[in-house]
């Protein structure tokens, strides 16, 4: 996959070691993504009421539907840093825009790392010229590495697809669920496509793609102050434009969904202390929101997640979680299975010996829980992890 994302028409990359978290280290921590021309752009940001300075700026600037450069750092989230944090982010993106000769509003800042600390402005400002001069010499993967915090591996995806006007590529990078105190489980993702897409269409497609991917994963139910998914479209002057036909739009939307789902999946797999990834599928709900709510309550329940960890087909905990989601259904009608193993059918535990088979299904690193509420036609799925002793150990570790 690394090879395939090395090149995407119209975009250039650079990454340097600015020593943001600790001076003098040579770990890449400061990256730049640059589009040859102002690209159509859309973003989905955290719904947390407490949001970081770069998120505030992203929301403001993305409203125009254009972006030409993304300045992205790890080591410091610039969150809970007040007015000073805001001016720092503006100052950095301002200096960068001057160096690049573009409008300041075309630069989007993204940050991840410790919160409650001001950015080390001296070190970051000194690194800006190198970021600009290195443009095109670094690779996509270097930026993907620069945004890692406690991620154990860089997370990228590349998809080649086609619309009636020609082929296009989507390349995405993502950082995931690092939760070393006092960081949050910040999720940052930048997705690039060679296709030229109207900002409005891009926004609609991204919203939908995020719903079923990044918004469908849960590691501990917490949402970070910095979570951002940004998409940029058509960096090249010669970019193929997305035709207006429904089938073309569906082809693009489907590729974007696939990219988001793949990245989200990598985030869950790399979650701290994760030993299992579980897909919770809820069907037969009155509406999609209800299905999602039931799936999420199941996926967030510590009792369910510890049972996943213990490979214990504890259907009682799953149904009990479903029962407190606030969605009306008749418990005496539901079907529940783990993997291919049916456990509850029409509200009653199946008479066959399901237990060892279900336990066996849960010994896989990835498995599915299916719950049919028989209360409607809507469904949703979320991806969750188990809850392990290691998760607690990592997150209870006092900052040293």
């Amino acid at each position: 996959m690394e090879k395939r994302t090395e090149y995407i028409e119209g975009f250039k990359f650079s990454a340097v070691a600015a020593g943001i978290k600790k001076p003098g280290t040579d770990r890449l921590d400061f990256g730049l993504i640059y589009s040859d021309r102002p690209a159509a752009a859309a973003a989905v940001t955290t719904t947390n009421l407490v949001y970081a300075a770069p998120v505030a700026i992203t929301r403001e600037r993305i409203a125009g539907g254009l972006c030409q450069a993304v300045l992205i750092n790890s080591g410091n989230a610039n969150a809970y840093t007040g007015e000073q944090g805001l001016s720092h982010a503006k100052e950095l993106t301002g200096e960068l825009s001057a160096a690049l000769g573009i409008a300041p509003d075309l630069v989007i800042p993204m940050s991840t790392g410790v919160i409650g600390h001001q950015l080390p402005m001296d070190r970051m400002k000194s690194a800006l010229p190198a970021l600009v001069s290195e443009l095109g010499k670094s690779r996509f993967m270097d930026v993907a590495h620069a945004i890692m915090t406690t991620d154990t591996k860089a997370k990228t995806v590349a998809i080649d697809a086609e619309v009636s006007a020609g082929p296009f590529r989507i390349a995405g990078m993502c950082k995931g669920a690092g939760m070393i105190s006092p960081n949050m489980a910040t999720m940052l993702s930048v997705i690039l496509t060679s296709l030229r897409v109207e900002p409005r269409v891009l926004r609609e497609c991204l919203k939908e793609a995020v719903q079923d991917s990044f918004n469908a994963i849960t590691i501990d139910g917490d949402m970070s102050t910095n979570d951002t998914v940004l998409v940029m479209a058509g960096g090249s002057r010669d970019a193929v434009a997305l035709p207006e036909s429904l089938s073309d739009r569906m082809a693009f939307a489907s590729a974007l969904n696939q990219a988001c789902l793949d990245l989200a999946h990598q985030v869950v797999l790399d979650g701290e202390g994760t030993t299992k990834v579980v897909e919770v599928q809820v069907t037969g709900a009155p509406d999609e929101d209800s299905a999602r709510r039931v799936a999420r309550v199941i996926g967030d329940s510590p009792l369910v997640k510890t049972a996943f960890h213990g490979e214990d087909p504890n259907w009682g905990r799953i149904l009990c979680a479903a029962g407190r989601a606030g969605v009306p259904f008749d418990p005496d009608k539901v079907d529940l299975s783990i993997g291919v193993v049916p456990i509850v059918r029409n509200g009653a535990v199946v008479p066959e010996d399901w237990e060892s088979a279900a336990h066996g299904a849960m010994q896989a690193k990835e498995f599915t829980v299916r719950l049919d509420l028989k209360a409607g036609d809507a469904g949703a799925r979320i991806y969750t992890t188990d809850l392990s002793e290691e998760y607690v150990t990592i997150n209870a570790d006092y900052r040293s």
Copy 2:
């Protein structure tokens, strides 16, 4: 405390070892509480959509406002047992009512233990005559022991107070958060008072008392299929009646609140894998519901709970949890403190060296987190626990 609850006017007790979970064991697991006359009664039961057979029967019978006997067992929750579970509970309470010579509707069944298994009717029916004949020979504490599952100690409370008509006593028992698979964290409580109280008044007072006690504790956010708090008032023919004055009503309500809070506190303290009990106080909320929601999201956050475990004053995780509760407030205005140590004031981290003091405050087994949202005048508090490796180990343990 044991001594003080040995006697409460108008009520008799019995408890036997019926071998409900496993035949032949001599652990008390079947109890009976009997009132000399039909007592005014009220109950609050689980809000989970999936509720056990005894809960269904309790709801129906308590509607009349009277109860004379409580038949209560551990070892089997009679939950997710369908129509058969319902008839089993009706059959047992029916036989008991015949033996006691009272109307079947005056018997309330309560169960806790494994779910998805039918009650061992033979063993339970054989034990009924002994339960009846032992009435008055067993003590309050014997029943408190009979309802324990994974509780490490019996939980009881006794309060002596006074209304203008004379003194009264409240005695309560409770079982808590046993979560050994496939049990739920069932919470059962029976509270008795020597005072004669109108069913309507009793209902109102109980509802309010439960709100700020049993409904204000969270160990893992899960709610059981069997949770029930039952109160019975004025078992004796000579019971002092609660006068209608407001001050008398307040005296009773206050004693009932105190009893519920004391029991709820014991439940949290005895939570599996609990090493800390944390009171989360939220003030300055637009309304009480909002305050409660913010407190609960903080108290349910695995990231916050692991930080509690690590004695890490990680204010970022607390504010981040508050920010996703869906309650409007301005993060730049809030105050946050742990114990007596101020950490955030008017949205900014205090300039003083708060860290070691806050860490020190968290080394206590019990401490308080205070968050002032500065967005209104309402407040609420909840009690939560830390999240420990031991919690995971206990709950991930595969049933053997």
